[in-house]
Subunit: 292 residues, 2 copies
Amino acid sequence: MLINEASKLTNLTKKAIEYYLEQKLVNPNRLENGYRDFSEDDIECLKKIYVLRKLGLSTEEIKSVLADKTNNTLQRISVQRELILQRDQAKKAILDQLSFGKNYSELSKELRSIEQSSTVAEKLLESFPGYYGQFICLHFARFLNEPITTSVQQSAYEEIIAFLDNAPSLQLTEELQLFLMENTKQDFNTKNIRDLIENTKQSIENPDKFLSENKEVIERYLAYKQSEEYKNSPINKIKTILIEFNNTSGYYDVFIPAMKKLSGSYAEYCTQMELANEKLLQQYPEINQLNN
Amino acid sequence: MLINEASKLTNLTKKAIEYYLEQKLVNPNRLENGYRDFSEDDIECLKKIYVLRKLGLSTEEIKSVLADKTNNTLQRISVQRELILQRDQAKKAILDQLSFGKNYSELSKELRSIEQSSTVAEKLLESFPGYYGQFICLHFARFLNEPITTSVQQSAYEEIIAFLDNAPSLQLTEELQLFLMENTKQDFNTKNIRDLIENTKQSIENPDKFLSENKEVIERYLAYKQSEEYKNSPINKIKTILIEFNNTSGYYDVFIPAMKKLSGSYAEYCTQMELANEKLLQQYPEINQLNN
DNA sequence: TTGCTCCTCACGTCACGTGAGGTGGC
DNA sequence: TTGCTCCTCACGTCACGTGAGGTGGC
């Protein structure tokens, strides 16, 4: 069909369609007279583009979403938009304060720390691949709402940025990447990640309760970790790579200490986590052997 | 001081400052050699621009904010951003559904009704001046979350758009505008409007309770409305103009009926409102005379 | 031939960033 | 003279919109 009909079917203007053609988002055949001939598939594709554009994705982003047969790209973008929404809400709150007559210089500082926090979160998402990046990003985002006021915080912020900008990228073999994608395709979206984070939080806040309530699961898990099956599994390989990466990239030596300096709530979280971990080790000393 | 120093003091780049100069947001003097000489006032102004730009205001918006000595413009923009935030949140929810694997064609409809709802809200804000526009906009925004699915709703939507695009603008004399501004400057911001709306909602949901609990206030109010003082007050003049406007513009004949068709929850609200009003009239029949 | 669609090309938008090329100050 | 700042002018960005000018189809 010709462009006019395509335009009507997709709710897109001709000019918009022409633009997407130029950007190679769609590639209809040409008729002998040079007119473009849109197929059913082209129309489907344009309809998707319409939706994605209305949702605020750039043409580049749309290109990768269309090329990606899994929903991984879409999930990443979704996490990104969540960060942006949070930032915009914080900005809206400042706008309200301004319209209420609060003065500019005070708010200017608040603004700066909002921007710095979201820069950290965005860079975290960029720095780590796939699902792992989303997890890391949402995990740390919770601790980034505190204003940066002291010079210690400021230099910690700068260390973090330098780390994230220069850290070697985490490389997984294609096989492992595929494994991760396959296994996170359905189950892990923004909401599930949030739930997971929330569960972790509750278990470290009250480790005794967690340990007694989940005795069975924990023991099954430990048994699995000692099995041959686990030792040869992709998930173990990924874990090994991660530990190696964390040890050599500066993640443990630079990033984590800086995060603790930047965010009081994160430092507190870590302390709790260590306590909980001690209790776990007391109850299951065999874990020590597992990690070596 | 020269542009370099101004840039350092304000956190703006030279190019950004030059752009604001071109847009006439600031107007520094020139030295004999043609160099620009920024005053303390210019710097203050640039600092404000910095904050407002970070908050996402366009240069045109910033221009009106800077020109406006009251906070009225800022308040309007704040309401506008609230609408945008709501829309973006709805869009983010759709993005999540997509990344969860839901199909495009279903979501495309949802998308359309999100956009239509926010168009109505935005046009409401544009169509009425000052505080009144903000109130009207937030008042109706609550009823605009329902999807547009039937053809009755669709044509009601179109009627509303046509009404808002063509309605004569509500004109108040400068004196009355000033009065409104003076009296809404402090007390009415987004949050206060919300509270007011919430209070109204509760009183019409349970008119008996409202009437008995607020007996004294209502009676004092009625007495005031019968006084000579009220008859000569600006608020009475504004009310007269509003009633006239509502009667002649099509607000009552076109807009309100269309809103009822568009939104079931608004229709319900109106019914409740009428019931509550009847009860009020039963208790205070003298109101009938007041309105003539 | 007329009125319509199709094509490509060019220029505008918004808030700057990135130079280029020329002048001024020390 | 050198290295710095200042000035203005031009072009690029992103996702199109608004024509202009020419061709094709009925």
